[in-house]
């Protein structure tokens, strides 16, 4: 198993850096296969999701009504959108009036959840860094709005500078650190020492 992972990975990795003609084609082919297999995995995942919920219905476990509703909604959408097409009026109706309202409402809940999290942050850990965190969040938020006839001099400029300079610096540093960690994680798999596929 590790041989498959390491071989396929090295071909694609070398193809990233050294665009040799033959290797490039093999790499493009592997990436094309991977794209197809990710799509097949998605469909197998949907079937797995339906199966887990069907077992819940069959065993009459608590909340099996919800699982039944999930399976029916899944079948309804696959049949309707599969028949009429992904951008047919029916699909657009389902998307506009069911999926978007639900996802937007869930996103809207963050207004209360994040305000609560920010308000209670000092209760969890009061330190210089959590104070700076709340301070920079408030400055950025207040910097983006201004009541007519009432404006704090220099607030907008300071908020813009905060976002343009120190925030960019911190973001670059975090991204560089994350890239180092990602390279280490990927190379551990490509050398066969980490085997999440159960080798």
């Amino acid at each position: 198993m590790a041989v498959i992972a390491v071989a396929a990975g090295l071909v694609v990795l070398i193809g990233y850096f050294l665009p040799m003609p033959l290797l490039g084609e093999v790499r493009a082919l592997f990436l094309h296969w991977a794209m197809i297999l990710f799509a097949i995995a998605l469909i197998v995942g949907v079937i797995n999701l339906a199966r887990v919920h069907w077992l819940k219905v069959a065993r009459r476990q608590p909340g099996y009504i919800n699982s039944l509703a999930l399976i029916l909604a899944l079948l309804f959408l696959v049949v309707v959108v599969g028949y009429f097409g992904p951008i047919s009026p029916v699909s657009i109706w389902i998307f506009n009036y069911i999926q978007v309202p639900l996802e937007s409402s869930l996103m809207a809940l963050l207004v209360v959840v994040l305000a609560l999290g920010g308000a209670r942050l000092f209760g969890r850990h009061l330190s210089l860094f959590s104070v700076i965190f709340i301070f920079s969040a408030l400055i950025t938020l207040l910097g983006s709005v201004s009541i007519i006839g009432f404006s704090v001099p220099g607030l907008d400029e300071f908020a813009a500078w905060l976002s343009r300079v120190p925030a960019t610096a911190g973001a670059r540093g975090i991204l560089l650190g994350v890239a180092l960690g990602a390279v280490a994680t990927g190379l551990r798999i490509l050398t066969g020492s980490d085997r999440p596929y159960g080798g």
């Binding site: 003609p21 995942g45 999701l49 560089l176 960690g181 990602a182 390279v183 999440p196």
Partner: protein, 254 residues
């Protein structure tokens, strides 16, 4: 002769990866004993190790959610790091009454979490106790994944929730559902907006690169320690490269 127009980023990138590999090999071969390596304290991992053992003793459960980023590109790296943690938790908790549960929002990650737990049971010679339904796929889009994960993180017997993977804004809803039940939340992601949310809501946030060293911190494994030492060394090489580049740029050479 194979005609190859190699771009300079390609060469630099190749050189960087080879250097990283060689250093990893060096630290793996020559720094045999892990005890000589002292690591700075990351309270998230200390509390996580303690809560995993407590969960096993008191018959509670650990929940690990791996995000919806899949396993390819940069966003997949945090899920792969999460699978390393899952393996360690499975080793410790596989013989307890309530083994860990994992949830994810992408099919391949869900299958890999099932395989990771399965091989942990195989190693423990307890394959019959492995329950394939403990590696769940809870939704296929970010917010439906959150909607499917929220009831599970607040479930009965779950006292520790670990969120390691690629998340979007929906991570706030998952952490709120866990916080309502008063469980310990350890969270980390490679996505920047998600890190801002985890810093505000998690008991123990993991910032940036910290989530990638969970193997070295909670699993005495020489390869993970070697890759951590390599990260540290390459960090200083990067810093020197940046400073050198800036000096040359100011001098007008670059």
């Amino acid at each position: 002769m194979i005609q190859m127009n190699v771009s300079s980023p390609g060469l630099i990138g190749m050189g960087f990866v080879l250097l990283f590999l060689i250093l990893m090999l060096y630290f793996w071969v020559f720094r045999k004993d892990k005890t000589t390596v002292v690591l700075r304290e990351i309270t998230a991992y200390q509390k996580l190790i303690r809560s995993i053992h407590l969960a096993v003793e008191e018959g509670h459960r650990v929940q690990i959610t791996l995000g919806h980023g899949g396993i390819s590109e940069m966003r997949g790296s945090s899920a792969l790091a999460g699978l390393v943690l899952l393996r360690r938790v499975s080793d410790v908790a596989s013989l307890s009454d309530y083994p860990p549960i994992t949830t994810s929002g992408e099919a391949t990650t869900a299958f890999l979490s099932q395989e990771t737990m399965h091989s942990a049971y195989e190693t423990m010679e307890a394959e019959r106790q492995y329950d394939p339904e403990s590696g769940l796929l809870t939704g296929l889009t970010p917010f439906s994944y959150a909607a499917g994960t929220m009831p599970i993180v607040g479930g009965d017997r779950i006292t520790t929730n670990v969120l390691l993977g690629h998340f979007g804004n929906e991570v706030g809803l998952i952490m709120d559902a866990a916080e309502r039940k008063g469980s310990l939340i350890v969270a980390g992601s490679e996505d920047l907006p998600a890190q801002a949310i985890t810093y505000a809501l998690a008991n123990e946030p993991l910032i940036g690169e910290e989530l990638y060293v969970c193997g070295a911190y909670i699993q005495e494994n020489r390869v993970h320690t070697a890759s951590l030492l390599t990260q540290d060394l390459v960090r200083w090489l990067l810093i020197l490269t940046i400073i050198g580049g800036v000096i040359l740029k100011l001098a007008g050479v670059l």
